[in-house]
Subunit: 156 residues, 2 copies
DNA sequence: CTAAGATAGGCAACTACGTTGTCCATATAG
DNA sequence: CTATATGGACAACGTAGTTGCCTATCTTAG
């Protein structure tokens, strides 16, 4: 007879593991010249992508209102991670693009995440980690960028 | 040679899986007579426990300031999940206790989480799920209630 | 026994990140 | 050329945090 595992532990551990990875990422990014970046900003910059986007489009991608997306863009612009230019083809649109500083943050994030994953693989073994990832993928189908929440992480 | 798995997928899937479980929990709680409860409230009520606590103590347990804990308690009191009484031994202290309605929410949450875990076990197999839980436990040691963030879920 | 310090709680002002609602400017279609 | 759709911005608000400060009460030292 296998022992009972309470169901509430799973969501708690999932959140704890997420927070752990994100906290380690941002501690490392802080050391690498990006002290002001916030966890959300990384997700937003990923969603902006190399070709740029607009507030409305970004909102749709992330599942928030265009106003919320606009405010986040404003913040990112203020701290130097993105810049806005008016689309010459449609002067209503303002195209948001990553600055070189923003690209740097994104590149470094990807490298740090790879390092953290390698640390997990060293602790659990590559095979077990792949099973873990595969199981999570199975339970959470679809595009990982569309967090679809709304309130990407917070406002629970 | 095994194929490359990008490190950024792991945190994303962890968050997605967490959100999925929490969203399903609250959809079900809504159906069971608790439409106004918010995800955070469940965590806070768990932290309050059957014997009650105080704002300062609750703040320490959850890793937030006493003011933040106080505000949350205020909200929970307003919607009928907790009640406050002054400690006769120390009239500075106000003891926060779950109401029967609050206990009901907590009981139902536990049952729903068990059901959701059973659904995962049916999909992945009990053994794989136990491995997943064990791996997460290994990577996130310590008391799961101490989220230690600060900003329990949000404010990333 | 009183003065000094520690602790509990509350208030105010602020930040971050979301929401609705409203409005204007510009594109596009009939 | 007018009607409609779209992109962006502004205001007001809600929720969940923060810091700083203040008062009341309990505890401890002289």
């Amino acid at each position: 007879m296998s022992s009972y595992v309470p169901g509430f532990e799973l969501p708690l551990r999932l959140l704890l593991a997420f927070r752990l990875l994100i906290d380690e990422l941002h501690a490392e990014l802080g050391r690498q010249g990006h002290p002001d970046i916030r966890p959300m900003h990384g997700f937003v910059m990923q969603a902006i992508g190399p070709d740029g986007t607009t507030a409305v489009e970004l909102g749709r991608t992330l599942g928030v209102t265009k106003q919320a997306a606009g405010k986040t863009i404003e913040t990112l612009e203020r701290i130097g991670y993105v810049e806005r230019t008016t689309d010459p083809q449609d002067t209503r649109r303002k195209i948001v693009r990553l600055t070189p500083y923003g690209m740097d943050a994104l590149d470094r994030s990807a490298r740090v995440f790879d390092t953290l994953r390698a640390r997990w693989a060293a602790e659990l073994g590559e095979e077990r980690l792949r099973e873990l990832e595969s199981d999570l993928r199975r339970m959470t189908p679809g595009n990982p960028w569309r967090l679809d929440t709304p309130g990407w992480f917070g406002n629970l």
